[in-house]
Structure formats: C-alpha cells, structure tokens
C-alpha cells in the first residue's frame, strides 16, 4: 500500500521551495513610476527610496542569495567591534549556548537523579521547580546583570537557567519510572547503589533524559538570540539587532536562515545521540 515516499517528498519539497521563491520575487519587485524628481544631493544622503517616502525595499531572493554567498565566502572577517563576520557572531552564540547548556546538564542530571530516586527530595524541591520553571529566562536578565556585572556571563546564565528545567524534569521522571522489576534484578544480585545507578537506572532512563536534553537545546537556541539582542556586543542575536538598526533586511534574512540551520543541526546532533542510547523493550 504505502510506497517509499523518499524522492517524491524531496521533489515536492523542491516545488514548494520554487513556489516560495517565485511569490517572494514577485512581491519584492518594486513597482510603479520613478516618482517626483529629486535633489540628487538629498537622495544620495538618505537613499533613493527613502527620499521619495518609500520604505526600504524588501530584498528579492536573488539579493538575499547574494548576501548569503557573500557572508559564507568570508564568514570570519573582523573590521572593528560592529563589523564582524557572521561566522564569528554565530561562534559566540554557539559558545554561549554550549557553556550554559553544559553547566545546566551538569547540575540538572545529578539533581534529577536525586529527585527521581528520593520521594522526599522530590516533595521538597517540587514547589520550587514548579514556580521557577514558567519564568521567562529573559526575566532573569536584569538580575543577572546586576549580580554578575558582565553581559557575556549574564547571557550564559540565562541559557543555563532556561535549559535546566526540561533536563531536570525529564531526568527525574525517567529515573522515577524505571521498571520495578529491573531494580529488583539489581537488588537480588546484591548490586551496590552506585553500580545500580550507573548500570541499571542510567541506561533505563537515558532515552527520557535525552528527550529532556533535546528540548533544552532547542529552548537554549531560541533564547540566545533574544538574550544577545538585549545585552548586545557580540553574537547572532546582536547581529540581527544591529542589522535592524542598519535597515539591512538582506542581512537579517541571512541571519534568520543561518539561525534555523544551526538550530536544526543542534537538534539533529542530539537526536543522533538519543538513538545511541535508545533501547527496545
């Protein structure tokens, strides 16, 4: 009944892409007359479009493609603090996400283990988790800036705080729901607590923990853009904001595309790790 859809899906995908580009091209092509004659001095100063009262023209796909090629051809240039290659900006963002995320994992996974294994600790910490979890990570930013007094560290802290909850909750859930009989096997074999934790509970809970880690990296990558828009200086979020101030829609679109691609790569990487620890019952 169901034939493999591989190449047909890919073909359809390409058709959609072509349609999108076509509509975009038509919509973005400037129309109408050239407008009233201009004082060439004035037009040179503020740009031809602005001088006649138009908005900056929305770039066509070809223009965005050219921008993308330009950025990818020289991603790591550095011409002053406000003019760095997009590769450098992305590297800052990835580094912040990685540091904040790994710190969160370092705290969340052991703590989640403890919560999952001990109903007492679960009962004691659950109210805090429930209150802290729904707080927007950006709400911590002023507090972080005030206490840490360093914008780079503050954005790492924001990544830490937003990626800790899914990992913590999933680890606790995975550990708490390890099948009773597997624990009984370990008990009848008189396996110590540490060995049970590493050889039985960890592999049993690993798929659930990995799900939490995957959710976390997604959230962290979402949040870093907003955090960098706030704190400025470096990073892809700052780049987007800076290009908004430059009214360079082409650069913004390029950045948006790259943010998506890198977010997908992060997710796929963790998905690959998740497959490594998956098991079939």
């Amino acid at each position: 009944m169901s034939k493999p859809v591989g190449w047909r899906a890919a073909l359809l995908s390409l058709v959609f892409f072509a349609m999108l580009l076509g509509v975009w091209q038509i919509a973005a092509t400037p129309r109408g007359g050239s407008g009233p004659a201009l004082d060439p001095e004035y037009a040179k100063l503020i740009g031809a479009a602005a001088a006649v009262g138009q908005k900056s023209p929305f770039p066509t796909p070809i223009e965005v493609g050219a921008k993308l090629a330009e950025h990818l051809a020289d991603p790591f240039y550095e011409r002053g603090t406000n003019d760095r290659g997009i590769g450098i900006q992305l590297a800052y963002s990835i580094a912040r996400v990685t540091i904040g995320y790994l710190l969160a994992a370092l705290v969340a996974i052991p703590l989640g283990f403890l919560i999952g294994m001990s109903p007492l600790v679960y009962g004691a910490l659950n109210p805090y988790i429930q209150v802290l979890k729904p707080i927007s990570p950006l709400a911590w930013m002023p507090l972080a800036l005030y206490t840490i007094k360093d914008s780079a560290l503050s954005s790492i802290f924001v990544i830490f705080i937003c990626s800790i909850w899914p990992m913590l909750i999933n680890t606790a859930f995975g550990v708490a729901s390890v099948r009773r009989e597997w624990l009984n096997v370990a008990r009848t074999l008189e396996v110590g607590r540490m060995t049970t934790a590493i050889r039985v509970i960890l592999p049993a809970a690993a798929p659930t923990i990995m799900t939490g880690m995957r959710i976390s990296i997604g959230i962290a990558w979402l949040v870093i853009v907003a955090a960098e828009m706030l704190v400025g200086g470096t990073g892809i979020g700052y780049f987007v904001w800076n290009e908004w101030n430059n009214l360079s829609i082409g650069n913004i679109l390029t950045a948006i595309l790259l943010i998506g691609v890198i977010g997908m790569a992060l997710d796929q990487g963790l998905g690959w790790l998740a497959r490594l620890v998956a098991y079939q019952e």
Binding site: E181, R187, E190, T195, Q280
Partner: protein
C-alpha cells in the same frame, strides 16, 4: 517409632503474614497470616493457589524483596533480611535488561557475584551458562530480538550463573506457548536435578507442578489464605513429560489437586472450622498411593478435571 534425627530444614517459614491496613480504623485486610512451611535442601517445592492468595508476595518475601508484616523466614539459621545472591529469582516477565545483550545480561549477574574476576573470565562464565540453556549463537542479541522462550532461557541462565543456593521462580513459564513451556519444563527439570538445586516455584499449572515438584503446597483462596495441605509427589523421580501420565499415581495426584482448586480451596475454612487444622503443621498427603482423594478416578473424571484445570489457569 525409632528416634531419628530430624533433618534440619534448609528454609523454615515461620508465621509470616501480609496485612493491609484497613481504611478508617476498619480491621486490617489479611491476605495471609500465620503461614508455616519448610523446604529441605535439594528439594523442589511448588506452590499452587488461585490469584489473590498472596503467592507472589510469599515468593518476594523469600527473595527478600518484600518484608513480611510479621513472622520470619529462617535460612541456614539466619533470618532473611534482604535480597541475596544466594537466592536467585526467575521472574515471570523474565526482567531482562533490554539495553544489554543476552550474554551481557548473564555477565552482569556473574560480575555481581564475582566482581574481581577478569573480564574474559566473566565472559567465559556467561558463555557457559548461555550454552547450558541452549542459546549458543544468540550471545549478541538484545532481548527485543529474542522470542519469549529464549528470553526466559536467558532469565534462567542469569539465575543459574550466580550459582545460587536456591532458585525462586514466579510462574516462569506462564507467558509462554504450550510447546515452549513443555521444552523449558524439561530443561529446568534437567538443570535442577543435575545441580541438586533447591527450588521454590509458583505455578498455576497442575501438570507442571506434578512434573517438577517433590512436594506441592496447596493454598486456599484469599483473603485469610491458608496453606491447606502439602501433597507429596510419589511419582518416581526419573519422570518425563512423555511418560508421566501413564503412571498410576499420576491421575490420583492430579485429581486430588484439581478437586482442591475447584472446590476445597473455597470451602477450606468451613471444612476446618471444627478444628483439626494446625497452621503450624499443614498436613502432608500422599494421594498417589491412596491418601485422601486418591481413589483412582476413572479416566472420564480425569478428562473432566483436565478441562477444569484449564479454566483455572
């Protein structure tokens, strides 16, 4: 009567009970209480009873996975206070660790028993028990890729690999199809006979009990389940699935047990209300040689009770 040294039991179950607290000051729900029995070294004992009489609880208390609400189990002069490598459990649902291979599961148990052994030695030990249960060739398969019977073979190999003093089996074959069950019963019989293993097994299957057990303990229905009697299996020790039903004792024992399960397991409390039952010494019966109930039932009754026994499984 000559005065002989009573051979000291390997395991002595003394007055164990399981109660659940009643809601709002109601009297506690007693699943069973004041339960006594003993198991001798090298003996194969089966426990038969309907669901809800606390069979699995008894096995878990023997394993040390649960504690009795009162009473104690004494093993080799010491009270059982927790799980031990000396009492290996074969779980009904096999309970293999799904992220380990068949051999890995057995090696995990072997390493628990001998943590200081070299890796190669542990692997060789695991391989030996894998071969013993006829799974050579399936070493590197994960449990998800094994059939139900093969999974339970791994479970058996894992239990035997720690070289326990006693095996505890909780309906180990109930999840298997009839053909596989028969084959595995034969294997368990062979393995236990070869290693002189002491075994406590829970089953629903009367034929399985008669084939495997030296003594068959009959439990009444819960709540307040009691160990009504202990049927001594008088069939020759050298018995197989294929010839067992031709032996004259077979149907007597079988009918006796099936009658118990259908009728007496319900009525036992009324039957013994006038006294004559001492829970500390449940009566041992030998229906095979004409004890109570062992009247040599004609074959048509035997057939009827066979149908009845299917109904209780």
């Amino acid at each position: 009567m000559t005065d002989h040294m009573p051979d000291r039991p390997f395991i002595s179950v003394e007055a164990i009970a399981r109660r659940f607290p009643g809601a709002r000051g109601a009297p506690p729900q007693v699943v069973f209480d004041n339960l006594h029995f003993t198991i001798r070294r090298g003996e194969f004992v089966c426990l038969i009873g309907h669901s809800g009489c606390g069979k699995t609880t008894i096995l878990n208390i023997l394993a040390g996975l649960e504690r009795a609400d009162s009473g104690a189990i004494v093993l080799g002069g010491q009270e059982i206070s927790g799980p031990s490598l000396d009492r290996a459990v074969i779980f009904q649902s096999h309970a293999l660790l799904p992220w380990m291979t068949a051999k890995g599961n057995i090696a995990f148990a072997a390493r628990a028993r001998w943590p200081n052994r070299a890796r190669a030695e542990t692997a060789a030990h695991a391989q030996k028990y894998l071969d013993l249960v006829g799974l050579a060739g399936a070493e590197h398969k994960k449990p998800a890729h094994l059939s139900g019977g093969m999974k339970q073979r791994v479970g058996i190999a894992r239990a035997l690999a720690v070289e326990p003093k006693m095996l505890l089996m909780d309906e180990p074959f109930s999840a298997l199809d009839a053909l596989t069950r028969g084959v595995l019963q034969d294997e368990v019989r062979r393995l236990c006979a070869a290693t002189q293993q002491t075994v406590f097994m829970i089953t629903h299957d009367v034929d399985e009990a008669i084939l495997l057990a030296d003594r068959i303990m009959l439990m009444t229905n819960g709540p307040h389940a009691k160990l009504a009697e202990i049927v001594v299996n008088t069939l020759p020790r050298e018995r197989t699935r294929h010839d067992i039903h031709r032996h004259p004792h077979y149907y007597r024992i079988r009918n006796h047990i099936v009658d118990f399960l259908i009728e007496r397991s319900r009525r036992f409390a009324e039957e013994t209300a006038g006294g004559g039952y001492d829970p500390r010494r449940p009566p041992e019966t030998r229906p095979g040689i004409g004890g109570p109930g062992g009247d040599g039932a004609p074959p048509d009754i035997a057939r009827r009770s066979a149908a009845a026994s299917i109904a209780i499984v």
